[in-house]
Subunit: 335 residues, 2 copies
Amino acid sequence: MSRAAGRPTLDSVAARAGVSRATVSRVVNGLAVTESSQAAVRRAIDELGYVPNHAARTLVTQRTDLIALVLPETTDRVFSDDQFFPGVVNGVSQVLEQADKQLVLMLAGSAASHARIERSIAARHVDGVLLASLHGADPLPAALARIGIPVVCNERPLGSTPLPYVGVDNLGGAAAAVGHLLDSGRTRIATIAGPQDMIAGIDRLAGYRSALHGSSRRSIVAVGDFTLDSGMAAMRQLLDDDPGLDAVFAASDLMAQGALKALRDAGRRVPDDVAVVGFDDTASARHTDPPLTTVRQPIIQIGRQMARQVLRLVAGDRIEATTTLPTELVLRQSA
Amino acid sequence: MSRAAGRPTLDSVAARAGVSRATVSRVVNGLAVTESSQAAVRRAIDELGYVPNHAARTLVTQRTDLIALVLPETTDRVFSDDQFFPGVVNGVSQVLEQADKQLVLMLAGSAASHARIERSIAARHVDGVLLASLHGADPLPAALARIGIPVVCNERPLGSTPLPYVGVDNLGGAAAAVGHLLDSGRTRIATIAGPQDMIAGIDRLAGYRSALHGSSRRSIVAVGDFTLDSGMAAMRQLLDDDPGLDAVFAASDLMAQGALKALRDAGRRVPDDVAVVGFDDTASARHTDPPLTTVRQPIIQIGRQMARQVLRLVAGDRIEATTTLPTELVLRQSA
DNA sequence: CCGGCTCCTGAGAGCGCTCTCACACTGAGA
DNA sequence: TCTCAGTGTGAGAGCGCTCTCAGGAGCCGG
């Protein structure tokens, strides 16, 4: 039979150390206390194995030390195959760990889970919210803004709710990719765009267009949904539309891999017949055949920066509404 | 200026509904209450937008409704490229959502984060713990067992701490793969094993050995760490060791992809010269060249089952210590 | 018409912590 | 010697909830 009624409390530590509860609290929270009671309290804490009760602390401080990462996609898609989500989680968790906060993961696939997440956040179950992978008409940003909790988005939220966000230079990256294709003498440059209800899809297409605009080249566009299969389908369609194309910019590495497959199936050599550039620089880009030239976005940095920003909001600081991280063209063999 | 002092409490709802705090609590928790007060309370809750304070509730019930998923690998590796982690998260989160629990993600890369996680769990910050990707000498299982919190592991924990776990039939899957290679007439069958401080690495190698044992074939082994690069290196070494080999079983799809690359570089055709079988059936297995024959493990089910088990432990039920999910050989073109 | 039963309700204690406030004690300055 | 800062400490209220317990209302049989 173990000792009755569980864990030691502030009171039991206080009793053992021969001081008041308030003094123990001061020691635990690092406030001024004489050397001697300090020592006595520390010894009592060690001997009793005291660990503060988080709920009790939360009840009075109104802080939970929890940050939510909300992924409002269908769970299948979030996890499908690109490495965006794990990278962001990684970055976020690095920063939260240093700040001694915990990460609560909320996947919002269904309408029901949407409601549940909103309720949980309205209940101030967490101190702040990170919102990733936003789609066009998502009502969550507006709902959170109404609740008035610190929120930081990944990429500029579509719709009318202005929320601080951390994004990457999609436009510049796409333009750099297309610029590289132009510089290397390609003349008929197509693009496989991403979903047009996501900033990453929209802005990368815009970057493609703006780069072509400078030259007198015509734009050739097919739209995918960032997945490999959609890239394959889009590439086939592009070849149908314009068999003479000599380059493709795909808005994700996965779609670029699909394009590579479709091109191989169609008997085109890469990069000899058709140059291919991707976007993301995921781990697999190094291993495609040929290795993929692509636009690197600093995924872990995105996570880190989002976490830093939300922590500053939680702490009551003001932050700049917009952070844009640079992208970088990585040259390999496919273009 | 907004209304003073924040959110409505049980008391304010009670006042508005003209009943006592206890009655409101009963309504909120679905206990017996007359029709009329029921209605009055519901109306008051709606009008006030009342949401229960989670910390206050936790303080008295001793439940947090939080389940931790601990990934005690270096974060880089967890997220590297295979899809195991996202799949497990997905499954776990599906089940937790239904049970109205939240998922707390804890990445234990460094020793410091290890300590932090232990502290957080010792403080009963969560109701239960899911432990994945265990490595050999990890002290966490023992530490958690000592704390006496509900824990469910992914795969049998190495070391002497007996904890309930959910695993897959690694041995049977590997044996099936090798059996298929034997059946199709391959005679010199090598394996690229996984890390030998992880169950998945150990058992898949054992499965390979046991299948070969039945025939009179010699085993040819190289060890990788589940990554593509390690698979490539291992394949090169195997070709050095035994240029006449005609089949390889790789303990992960990623290593199989590395093997595919190394074989192509060495001028071997797959499957004509060398057959290749992987393990996992990740999304990318369908897209390798040639498409990968592999052993499918039901990753999402693992997550689901782990979550179910830990919820039962939290609820005070007894559970069977061991759950083994089936694996299944998926035939494609590589073998 | 009364005792006993069931059912619902309200009062109130208490979960473990933080934080304000007042008090005791020191030492410097008048 | 007395006042006045300045410093450390303890008492106690209160965070918002659950849950026990006693009491009141309603209904039955006697």
